[in-house]
Symmetry: C2
Subunit: 299 residues, 2 copies
């Protein structure tokens, strides 16, 4: 069975299409990797690519893309609204199929070392690939941004990179490489305008206030519909599956005599996160993914 890994590199370039094209060409030249999607933003001066493929070609494609970005993007001249520390700013590897977060951690460390050693760009490992607890959080790793890190990397022992030189690359800055699970943007809409209820539910279920692990949640108003929403990011659907979150919100809403109107998934999500919901509600405990017809055709 083929392994599928996703990688979502972020580049500090959102204004010069020819630079993005050159980086894309590096990726497209690697057999076994597909560029599924790419977006860029002028104000952020930033681009996000979505790549999928097998582990080995993925390493090659990412390294080539980082090398090309280092060649064409000069952080000394970069400005934009989005926080950043390097030409290739952040590179997460994400397990999708027949692979694990552990394999993505290994991949992140291998690619990170290669970027550090061969391109002379300092690399910080983050999220599941982090080597220190204080580097799990991307915002902390990027603290002070390119300009601040330029000094801190040489003066603050806590900012010493995991790989590469202990000073920024003169044009490409530094790069954050890591492993994370697919992120699922998931909302549940409640048939009430009681924003306090939405906020109370969000607080109860989110990790930082003692709720479910890997759940970020906010209570929001949807003014045009006169309803409220529990808006979430599920950062590890294997640890905290969608149905667990949905059921808990349903229960809490019911206890407050409020109806769940509907839920919504924003953007993409792994097939298995939905199939797991079907299995759970149908109590179809022995169901195997191999029983799904279409994946057998595609593979």
């Amino acid at each position: 069975m083929d392994k599928i890994i996703e990688c979502v590199p972020n580049f500090s370039e959102g204004r010069r299409p020819e630079v993005l094209e050159a980086i894309m060409n590096e990726i497209k030249a690697v057999e076994g990797v597909r560029l599924l999607d790419h977006t860029h933003d002028f104000d952020h001066n930033r681009a996000v690519f979505t790549l999928v493929g097998a582990p080995e070609p993925m390493k090659k494609a990412v390294f080539s893309a980082v090398a090309k970005a280092a060649e064409l993007i000069d952080m000394e001249k970069h400005s934009g609204e989005h926080p950043r520390i390097g030409a290739t700013d952040v590179v997460p590897f994400i397990p999708i199929k027949n692979t694990s977060i552990d394999e993505c951690i290994t991949l992140a460390r291998e690619v990170g070392k290669e970027i550090g050693d061969k391109l002379g760009i300092p690399v910080y490992l983050y999220e599941y690939a982090a080597t220190r607890e204080d580097r799990r959080n991307l915002a902390k790793v990027r603290n002070g941004q390119y300009e601040g890190l330029k000094v801190a990397i040489q003066t603050d022992p806590n900012r010493k990179p995991d790989f590469g030189p202990e000073k920024l690359h003169p044009s490409a800055g530094a790069t954050v490489v890591g492993a994370r699970m697919p992120l699922i943007a998931y909302n549940v809409n409640l048939d009430t305008d009681d924003i306090e209820l939405a906020k109370y539910i969000a607080k109860t279920i989110r990790e930082k206030d003692g709720g479910f692990k890997n759940v970020k949640a906010l209570g929001l108003e949807i003014k045009e519909r006169g309803i409220v929403q529990v808006s979430m990011n599920l950062t590890n659907y294997q640890v905290t599956p969608i149905y667990k979150v949905y059921d808990r919100i349903s229960e809490m809403a019911k206890a407050a005599n409020v109806k769940v109107l509907e839920s919504e998934v924003i953007g993409l999500l792994p097939l298995s996160s939905m199939v797991e919901c079907a299995k759970y509600y149908l109590k179809a405990v022995d169901f195997k993914d191999e029983q799904l017809l279409e994946p057998r055709i595609w593979e």
Copy 2:
């Protein structure tokens, strides 16, 4: 988006591997069609192939396979436990992805006509492709088998074929061609040894006793576990989805103070039949199949 059609031709040969190989080679020679699976049985003297592919190549592959079977299988010499009327006994076309039962009906009639006209094999259309109500049911079309049909086709106006000559092909007999939905074999296990309850539920939910459309159901004992099972075939999951059947059984079990232990899917089923369950239970009304990550990679 690529259309995917499944076809599951049954051949009256389960004893001579070289004959099955020759038929398979006809199929493998057609680009755009994949032989997903094949099984054969000595006692039944019968083989079942599972093909998937786009409509046009599928027509070509099926016609070539039928022609080869007519060349190599002689019904005058065939014996086996399974009912049959021809070398290629039955050919159902099944919509899987980006296609419909209507397209499969058209396909069945086109291929059926070609088999009749070019190979001189009488063809009967069945299930959704049937031209008469009394031919929807395969067992009725096969009534009397090869030996009985040999006379009946020439004497009984009701047994006149839809395509081809009004007498059996001297060696290949006749062929039944049609369209059906994917069949889902689905069971729900109840935490009781009360077989009457399982039978009562089965009777309530099955189509022939006024229950859900496209549901066949039986109440069975699973003696080694001391429990009972509602054992089903769901013959059109778009008309009667899995969750509808599961929920109804759950309700009836609950009313009898019996717990649903688990449910089980036997064999393959289309991805969307499971995704629809997840959508239903999560009230994820606006969810689109395009949001699933892996199918985007494979296509």
